[in-house]
Assembly symmetry: C2
Homo-oligomer: 233 residues x 2
């Protein structure tokens, strides 16, 4: 491993985390690394290559944060993962935004491949923890849609931090539980596994709190009768 090269990538990653790619020049990277312009070009053909390499590293780091021991209630595991995910979003804000907004001038098949790889890692980790034998197309779809939700929600949050981080972390996990339940309502095989999922959950965890919040809705005037009307028609 070439230390100088690694240092350049590290410096580039830092700059690309803080500024959109179009605002970072090779000169900026050279200056921040205490290196000459020709030295940077010795290692990388140009800014795009350095951008994509630093992105690959960031993608690997992010994917690593999805790994979690398969112990304890599922929603609490996801809650811990989302904490690490939001830490990452927080510390790579401008770069994260530029990357996920397709119109970045630095977007390329290479950058798309990195994003797709991170999405796949998230998707696979979730299915691993669900431990569902033969996940259906519907369940895979639910997981991908929830990942898209987490992405768009993170972008919103970076632009306007009106929601506290811990609240967002909890909401995203609860949205996953709700999406899983909705999918189970359509798929008898998944519905059978849902009882085990809820059995492992704790009252003070994200799922327990969600169930109580939803139960509280039933005390809203006229809501319970309307739900009963629809349920028994």
């Amino acid at each position: 491993m070439d230390e100088r090269r690694e240092q350049l990538i590290s410096v580039a990653l830092d700059l690309f985390s803080k500024y959109p790619p179009e605002d970072v020049s090779i000169d900026d990277i050279a200056a921040a690394a205490g290196a000459s312009r020709p030295l940077v070009y010795h290692y990388f053909p140009g800014k795009q290559a350095l951008y994509e390499e630093s992105l690959r590293r960031a993608g690997q780091e992010l994917a690593g944060r999805f790994e979690e021991h398969a112990e304890g209630p599922l929603s609490e595991r996801l809650y811990r993962v989302m904490g690490r995910y939001l830490d990452f979003v927080d510390s790579h804000g401008p770069g994260f935004s530029a990357l996920l907004r397709g119109g970045s001038v630095a977007a390329s098949p290479g950058t798309t491949a990195v994003i797709d790889e991170v999405r796949r890692a998230a998707h696979d980790q979730i299915l691993l923890h669900l431990a569902v034998t033969e996940p259906s197309a519907g369940l895979r779809r639910t997981v991908r849609a929830w990942i898209a939700n987490a992405e768009i929600t993170s972008l919103d949050w970076l632009a306007d931090r009106s929601v506290p981080r811990e609240e967002l972390q909890l909401q995203l996990v609860q949205e996953f539980v709700a999406a899983l339940t909705l999918t189970a309502a359509r798929e008898p095989a998944l519905a059978l596994e849902l009882a085990d999922f809820f059995a492992a959950e704790r009252p003070e965890g994200p799922t327990g709190r969600l169930v109580r919040e939803l139960a509280n809705l039933l005390t809203v005037p006229n809501l319970a009768p309307q739900l009963t009307r629809l349920a028994t028609s």
Copy 2:
């Protein structure tokens, strides 16, 4: 209005709907329009300009499909809109995919602006129909996340049509109703409006079917006791 120019845009839109932008050349457009290459360049500085203009038209057309009379149950209105939306996705498949996948070589601030405009139109229409006075940041976030869900789901569906169109149309609407309910569980003001929403819904509509599907989940062995345990802890 210059008819020749309009014809070129129409032909370009058709080609960009059928093939990714990188596979369409100015020569292809000229040939399909029965025009010469110089004539195309007379109207447009290059392929990117023609791509962006045809995209703007497609965006306007799509945004127009979101408009719906404010009559009848809300989930049935959304169901009709989603029918028109999926028609659009169906007939503009490859172009739609290329556009929403950020790595398209033709992605630019111009194309991003078009996508953002369509998203904003969808967002505004939904809030208009919800008729919620002063939508909270949380509700806006829910709407944007659901739009992201509809986008990613459409891309999945284009790549693998394992789910029938009508089923997808119904699922997306039901996912909106679920997301709305979840948001209401966090926001007392929205919860009060939720009773009116359910009161206007019909048993045979998307919401009525959803409520019965969720109620059916309670017959799954051991699920109801686990939910009761969490709700009453």
